[in-house]
């Protein structure tokens, strides 16, 4: 199986640890993943903000970068949904050879938990993470991709991990791409309620499959000194007894523990 990683522009630029975690998990399971350097962005921000014309070259570059692979793994629900649900509509308007290209590539694109559970048929990835975790199903994972319980099945199989219920889990966190800045007050009101739910859950870590949503939620937690942190699903699944902590790319935080991509080490978590 020829396997490619679409790390997403967001993770590539801001959360490289999550990309590394995907590589580590797959390597542990015996799969080498290629990183096609031609990849850039799925075009979701442009598409969802009304700049559909600007999304066309990005869809084209996506097809060019991932043509020929048997499967493309993406550590993001919303970017996967953009490719699988909406690339065809952008391509249809652009015409030419693009619709055929999208029809070949898009069906092979999988969100990380989908790839592990559906393609590899694995729920126990051999991870160790001795902390309590609440899972937030991001909207596009939940309602566009319908990943269902795949992420929580993966989390339940992690040794040492206690999965706790997140109240009102299916409610949007309020990120919504450019919504977060165009409708900042509403976005923050929704995010604050998500932070409250995370605190109510009693978890040490709020986990999700999208770093974009987690940046918003984590940004509120950090500002409010909420004492709980966010982590991508891949970053949790990458942890093992031998490597219990994802190597931080930034110095340790001095406050409530918002350093994305950095798992709470045993000395941090109680």
């Amino acid at each position: 199986m020829r396997l490619a990683l679409f790390v997403t522009c967001f993770n590539d630029t801001l959360f490289p640890e999550t990309g590394k975690s995907v590589v580590r998990v797959l390597r542990r399971l015996g799969h080498e993943v290629e990183f096609p350097y031609g990849q850039v962005c799925c075009g979701q921000m442009h598409f969802n903000s009304g700049y559909r014309k600007d999304a066309v070259p990005l869809v084209r570059s996506f097809v060019d970068a991932f043509e020929g692979y048997d499967a493309v793994v993406v550590p993001s629900g919303s970017c996967t949904a953009m490719v699988r649900e909406y690339h065809a509509s952008v391509a249809r308007e652009a015409g030419g050879s693009l619709p055929a290209g999208v029809a070949r590539v898009a069906p092979k694109v999988y969100e990380f938990s989908e790839f592990l559970v559906d393609v590899l048929g694995i729920t126990d990835v051999g991870a160790y993470f001795p902390h309590s975790v609440a899972y937030h199903p991001t909207c596009h994972s939940l309602r566009l991709l319908r990943v269902g319980d795949r992420p929580t099945r993966l989390l339940r199989a992690v040794r040492g991990l206690t999965l706790v219920d997140l109240p009102r889990a299916d409610e949007c966190c309020g990120f919504g791409g450019t919504f977060a800045v165009k409708n900042v007050d509403t976005s923050v009101a929704m995010g604050d309620d998500k932070v409250s739910a995370a605190l109510e859950s009693g978890a040490q870590v709020l986990c999700a499959g999208d770093n974009s949503c987690l940046t918003h939620i984590g940004g509120l937690m950090s500002r409010h000194h909420a004492g709980i942190r966010v982590l991508h699903l891949a970053d949790i699944l990458a942890c093992t007894e031998a490597l219990p902590d994802v190597p931080p790319y930034a110095p340790a935080p001095d406050r409530a523990g918002f350093a994305a991509g950095q798992a709470p080490g045993p000395e941090v978590a109680r």
Binding site: L14, E32, S49, R52, D185, R223, A250
Partner: protein, 498 residues
């Protein structure tokens, strides 16, 4: 009496959504009222929907029937007209609000009345009929309890089904005590805010209006093209009073409300109550076909209203909004609506359905719209809860994105030059991998401004810093890493040489 007829507030002139939402979000009484109300209705809806093993099939059927209606609308409308006329009704056609209002006013004047009773209807709110009647010196008495609360309070509706959802019972009691006496039977002395007491006060206040009225105005939930039957679905019985007691009944109907056959009601009378009030069946379903001698109104007028609907129908993506049966399930599950309430949308149609219906009815497909209208398609995080709840499967997120494209690429909204330049710059950066590599390097340098891996407050007012300032007003962000993923992958051969 003419001089005392009071006009009602209007949504005209409301600020764009973000600004209106800012004000609404600060109203914590309303926030609490909305949270309690939407969560209650949501839970009730989920419960009764779960009872039906064929719910998804019912949704598909509702979608298919409505799509068929829209695909062959002119033929269905003509069949309806013939059937209503054959049953003794009068059919009027109105291109827009002004024409529809003029027809209602003319009929009321011909009857020599200075008041009408009304069944709650969205379409008469849409055309601001009450203000048109007031301008003609005719009182329009709202008889639905929530609509009465809104009217007495000189307020605006904030929900399709429960227009006073933003009010709690203490506020309602105050409105009744203060306002009822000015327009009819006053609230009883020592009125409490117990639901039963409030309902009794409303019932007594309305009773004299029901018994006196010669003319009633209603909307309609469905109209059957085959038979000419009009159907109104309600919970309180006020509709039944209006539809049966007065001598004259005027029904204003959006042209999309048609159903081809009587049998189609089977689908919609299951979908609507479960989606709207969370009931298996609504308490009152009234149906009438033209005029029946010796029974009910002897003079029936049906006004078929376009008011922008033909333009919506012309848009292959946007037209699905015309499937809407005004159940308000999308409002009740919407995380934005739950927090801002309905007034922020600046339209009688709030929430997710309003965000796609209002801009279309205001002509976004054909011409440039004002800033408030153009802001509506952006009033959503695209979470998709509305699509899942919609009983006729309107893909609201798809239409929202479609309308955003009309605002931006189609040039139908105010031009945001700064955003356009920013988006073009990002697109340019993303077009070639080396460009993103360079941008990431620059971002890595930016990390030096972070303290302990976190970027906190930006010491500049929001208006100077655009989206960056908006982000950092309430949120921190992690500092960009010194090395991007692609640099790491290249340097270490995917971690093999780390």
């Amino acid at each position: 009496m003419t001089a005392s007829v009071r006009g009602e507030p209007t949504f005209v002139g409301m600020p764009p959504f973000p600004e209106a939402a800012h004000a609404e979000l600060a109203n914590e009484v309303q926030r609490a009222n909305l949270r309690a109300a939407t969560h209650t209705i949501r839970a009730r809806r989920d419960e009764v929907v779960a009872e039906l093993p064929d719910w998804e099939l019912l949704r598909r059927a509702g979608e298919a029937i409505k799509d068929d209606v829209l695909a062959r609308l002119p033929g269905h409308l003509e069949r309806l007209e013939v059937a209503v006329r054959a049953a003794g009704g009068v059919v009027h056609w109105a291109r827009d609000a002004a024409e529809a209002n003029a027809i209602v006013v003319a009929i009321a004047r011909a009857k020599g009345v200075d008041e009408v009773v009304k069944v709650k209807s969205m379409v008469t709110e849409e055309i601001e009929l009450n203000n048109a009647l007031a301008a003609a010196g005719i009182h329009a008495w709202e008889t639905d309890l929530a609509q009465l609360i809104v009217q007495l309070g000189q307020d605006l509706p904030s929900h399709i089904l429960v227009p006073a959802i933003h009010r709690n019972r203490a506020e309602i009691r105050e409105i009744f005590v203060r306002e009822m006496g000015g327009v009819g039977r006053p609230a009883p002395e020592h009125l409490t805010d117990a639901p039963g007491a409030l309902a009794t006060a409303a019932r007594r206040h309305l009773r004299e209006k029901f018994l006196r009225a010669k003319v009633a105005v209603s909307g309609g939930n469905f109209a059957i093209a085959d038979t000419g039957t009009v159907c109104v679905v309600e919970s309180e019985g006020n509709g039944r009073m209006c539809l049966t007691l007065p001598e004259t009944l005027i029904t204003v109907l959006g042209v999309e409300k048609l159903l081809p056959t009587w049998g189609d009601l089977e689908v919609f009378l299951q979908l609507l109550p479960r989606s709207s009030t969370g009931e298996r069946m609504n308490p009152y379903t009234s149906m009438w076909t033209g005029v029946t001698p010796g029974d009910g109104p002897q003079d029936f007028h049906l006004i078929l209203l376009d008011n922008g609907r033909s333009d919506v129908l012309a848009d292959p993506v946007g037209r699905q909004a015309l499937r809407c049966i005004r159940c308000s399930a999308c409002l009740n599950v919407c995380p934005v609506y739950e927090r801002t309430g309905g007034h922020a949308y600046g339209s009688v149609y709030p929430g997710p359905i309003g965000a796609i219906l209002t801009p279309q009815l205001r002509g976004i497909a054909a011409h440039r719209v004002d800033a408030q209208t153009a802001s509506l398609p952006f009033a959503s995080s695209l979470c998709g809860a509305c699509f899942d709840a919609c009983p006729v499967r309107i893909d609201i997120p798809e239409v929202l994105v479609h309308l955003r494209t009309q605002v931006v690429d189609g040039g139908r909204g105010p031009h945001d030059r700064a955003e356009e330049v920013g988006m073009a710059a990002v697109r340019w950066t993303f077009e070639k991998p080396w460009r993103i590599g360079f941008a990431q390097h620059v971002a890595g340098v930016g990390a030096r401004f972070a303290r302990h891996g976190v970027i906190g407050r930006v010491p500049l007012p929001k208006r100077f810093t655009g989206p960056v300032g908006a982000w950092f007003a309430d949120r921190d962000a992690p500092a960009p890493p010194a090395e991007s993923f692609r640099s790491w992958y290249k340097r270490t051969d995917g971690g093999l040489e780390e």
